[in-house]
């Protein structure tokens, strides 16, 4: 079998010839890997990444198709919505200059309002037959598709740049974060499905708790898309608030809390914020933690408003959070999260009894996206 190697002195009739062949191959491969090891690693990473990129492309196409299908089904557009949706999926947002940070929160808040209003108007025009809740759901759906499209474009950019420049470290950086990017993309696909059907998502825990508190009680609308209900509990005046549902909406709880405190000339004794928060790996989904401070995510403008108003009036701010992963927060709500709402209410009652006296006023704010949660 090894006759063709006989000119090299390797013969297949004895085991020493085969041993020489194997050791020669070992030496050659060792030298080969010294020179080409990194290149081989680079091509392996590029190959892996091209697979991930194909998967991302499939996901963003699937999300776009779902968006178009849902818009046509619910909104009954009079013109072909595809060119407008394609344009919306490429939309961008320029944040204000932060070289002189004084007053940046209000600039950012204004720009975000402009963006949100424009997005909502665009969706309304695309879906003339949709009611307000459906427009909010469709807006969330378009936002989910936009996020997937952006992830795809960024990954493709670095993949092609790395391939073009053959830069090992450029590809390596992308390779390192790729599992997390893929996890987020998969969660976004789940989120778009939930938005298309109007199902509650993990982030809706805060509004779910507030809706349980304000059930069958009188409600009124306050600052942008927020509903408030005032009632008595254990001898205290409770003001529960949440974004107006059941359409996908986070409202502006910062403005709402500010307005409520101003209406009472600062005579509020406690603010309790309920929100879903990102858990550490290994922690149980649906676990509850108590703390202090304004529990609210986003870009920070709403948190700023609450912190400013609370500190101006010396109002203590407490937070009750329900733990969930970043993926669980945007995917359809899990049973463990939904069931934790009643335990959160027990915690709120405990906190109120421990920290306040009868007759005092407490604001309970359910923070998060209220999709699929009415009031």
């Amino acid at each position: 079998m090894l006759d063709w190697l006989s000119p090299l002195g390797i013969t297949g009739t004895d085991s020493s010839g085969l041993g020489t062949l194997i050791s020669t191959l070992m030496y050659l491969s060792f030298i080969f890997f010294i020179f080409f090891g990194q290149k081989i690693q680079l091509y392996t990473m590029i190959w892996n990444m091209s697979g991930a990129l194909k998967k991302l492309e499939f996901m963003k196409n699937e999300a776009k198709a779902l968006t178009i299908k849902t818009l046509i089904e619910i909104g009954k557009p009079k013109v072909d919505p595809i060119p407008r949706i394609s344009a919306l999926l490429e939309a961008f947002f320029i944040t204000p200059v932060d070289m002189d940070p004084a007053g940046i929160v209000w600039k950012l808040d204004h720009l975000m309002d402009v963006r949100d209003n424009k997005f909502k108007d665009d969706v309304k025009r695309l879906a003339p037959e949709a009611d307000n809740a459906q427009v909010n759901n469709l807006e969330n759906l378009v936002e989910g598709s936009l996020a997937l499209n952006t992830i795809y474009r960024i990954v493709r950019h670095f993949y092609l740049l790395g391939k073009k420049t053959q830069s090992f470290f450029l590809i390596l950086q992308l390779q390192m974060i790729l599992p997390l990017v893929m996890q987020e993309a998969e969660a976004l696909v789940g989120a778009t499905k939930a938005f298309a059907q109007g199902q509650p998502i993990g982030d809706g825990l805060g509004p779910l708790v507030a809706s349980k508190l304000m059930k069958d009680k009188e409600k009124r609308k306050v600052e942008k898309d927020v509903v408030v209900s005032e009632f008595a509990m254990d001898g205290r005046n409770i003001i529960a608030l949440k974004a107006e549902g059941p359409g996908g909406n986070v409202g502006k709880p910062g403005d709402a809390i500010k307005q409520l405190i101003k209406e009472r000339e600062g005579k509020v004794d406690m603010v309790i914020m309920i929100d879903a928060a990102v858990k550490f790996e290994g922690e149980k989904t649906g676990g509850i933690s108590e703390g202090t401070g304004a529990a609210i995510g986003g870009i920070g403008t709403e948190r700023f408003k609450i912190e400013e108003e609370a500190s101006k009036n010396k109002i203590p701010v407490y937070a009750i959070i329900v733990k969930e992963s970043l993926q669980e927060a945007i995917m359809p709500m899990k049973k463990e999260i939904a069931e934790s709402a009643d335990n959160v209410i027990t915690k709120i009652k405990g906190l109120i009894q421990e920290q306040t006296k009868e007759g005092q006023t407490i604001i309970v704010a359910g923070i998060g996206n209220t999709i699929g949660v009415g009031q």
Partner: protein, 127 residues
């Protein structure tokens, strides 16, 4: 139709992987016998081929297992729980478009009061 095709592909892949695994195990056994008989060349060939076969088939079976888990998690249903506040009658059904928490749905079959949606959640995968 597509689902049937995928199912067939799955079974063919699993059967093929198991076949490769069995053949690889037989090759490794053969290599041990060759070693005992002093056939070094045959020993190396069978051992290397056998190990490559075992690695490939195990990798293929592990990939199929991961895919099954993903498919299972995707096929989980979203459930809606309706409750009657008056008599505590509880009804769990599959989610329908238009459902939302606090929506009054129908009359309670026990006491004729309103049933309202109390929870909408995705069922958890079985451990």
């Amino acid at each position: 139709m597509e689902q049937k095709k995928n199912g067939l592909y799955f079974y063919v892949t699993v059967i093929f992987s198991l076949g490769v695994l069995a053949y690889s195990a037989w090759l490794i056994l053969g290599s041990v016998l060759s070693y005992n008989e002093g056939q070094t060349e045959s020993f190396y060939y069978s051992l290397i081929l056998g190990l490559i076969g075992v690695a490939l088939s195990i990798s293929s079976l592990a990939t199929m297992r991961r895919r099954i888990q993903i498919i299972k998690s995707q096929s989980l249903k979203t459930l809606t729980t309706e409750i009657c506040e008056k008599c505590n009658f509880k009804k769990v059904r599959e989610f329908k478009a238009g459902d939302y928490v606090n929506k009054k749905t129908e009359a309670c079959p026990q006491c004729k009061a309103d049933l309202a949606i109390s929870m909408i959640y995705k069922e958890s995968p079985k451990e």
